[in-house]
Amino acid sequence: MAPVAPRSGDAIFANVERVNAELFTLTYGAIVRQLLTDLEEVEEVNKQLDQMGYNIGIRLIDEFLAKSNVSRCIDFKETAEVIAKKSHGDGFLEGVWSWIHPGFLRKQKRKKMEKRKIENESVGLKMFLGVTATVGNWNAEGTTCSLILEDNPLVDFVELPDTCQGLYYCNILSGVIRGALEMVSMKTEVTWIRDMLRGDDAFELQLKLLKQVPEEYPYKDDE
């Protein structure tokens, strides 16, 4: 059977079940509030949010792969080719991201970009224009980049009180990216560089590729 063409992040988003974002935003806000009450230490809350994001990310990637028709990429190079050939140009991360909310487009892009960079593929960033997130700040080795969000549904209605200055309110997002990437064999470290809740002009996540984990099967087909 001929492979089905990958679908763009926008197309996926248009076809999934959607709900009013307020429910999502407020639920997330209430979780953070409750965690702050229960865990007391801001640092612990950051950790817990990251862990929750990770748990979500490792499942989200499945749904993304199932719905986006993106085929499995064995290595960076193949991923790069997929990106280069398909006009849609959505990488795993980009898809996952866009599909959670339009801002997610950025995440997927980032991943693709990273792979591409490593392979020195010169696919333009242009295919990513028109979405709400941008990828940038690549390091020379192509192993680190930034995902910049100017719009983020998680922080609607949110203001951080003085007592929560150490809180990374959106830490669940970094967990989601980390979890999703890990499921496609990329160990990454995701950290917040800029945070609008702390007075910066945008949200910037730094994504650092630690290593690519070769896939290992727990079984052998022939035996």
Binding site: E17, V19, A21, L23, T27, G29, R33, Q34, N55, L60
Partner: protein, 182 residues
């Protein structure tokens, strides 16, 4: 036109709330976990009802407010209306949702089901399944209680799932506190 997110985001969050509180912090104390989860829901319901009633005139009586919950509020949150509303006219309302969205895709651990059918139907195994699903109901119960309390109706909300594991119906009961009856 409001902003939207994929439904899986909300479902993922709900799953994570339940699993972090039930398996993490309060693994041995389901009672405490339930209260925390309900509190999160309360907060959400309280804020949502504030927003959804922004452009409406004040509700003149309790029934009107309950109808708002059954129709508009339910549609916003669960994308359908309540299927059946009953009341004993003495402060108890039963809302029935025949296909409660947040349970419609939930599966029950097969080992629990098997156990349940081998032993007698009211065996402990079935209680376990009910407990697992019950944990996911504290959040919506909290939402409803928060919304009603913000509309000036302090109440207790409980959920009851009659046909496990199909979860076909779903009740909320409101027990008014005495002073809100007049």
């Amino acid at each position: 036109m409001g902003r939207e997110v994929s439904e899986s985001c909300v479902e993922s969050l709900l799953t994570e709330i339940v699993s972090s509180y039930c398996n993490g912090f309060y693994a041995d104390k389901p009672e405490l976990a339930a209260r925390r989860i309900e509190a999160i829901g309360f907060q959400v319901g309280h804020q949502l009802s504030e927003r959804y009633t922004m452009d409406r005139p004040r509700f003149t009586d309790h029934l009107e407010a309950i109808k708002f919950i059954c129709k508009d509020f339910w549609s916003e949150v669960f994308k359908k209306q309540i299927d059946n509303l009953k009341t004993n006219h003495r402060g108890t309302f039963v809302l029935q949702d025949n296909r409660f969205r947040w349970l419609s895709r939930m599966s029950v651990d097969p080992s629990i089901e098997t156990l349940g059918s081998i032993q007698d139907p009211s065996a402990m195994a079935e209680n376990k399944a009910a407990q697992a699903i019950g944990m996911h109901l504290y959040f919506p119960c909290g939402i409803i209680r928060g919304a009603l309390s913000n509309l000036g109706i302090p109440c207790a909300v409980s959920a009851d799932i009659s046909n496990l594991p199909a979860c076909k119906s779903f009740h909320f009961e409101f027990f008014y506190s005495a002073n809100s009856l007049n």
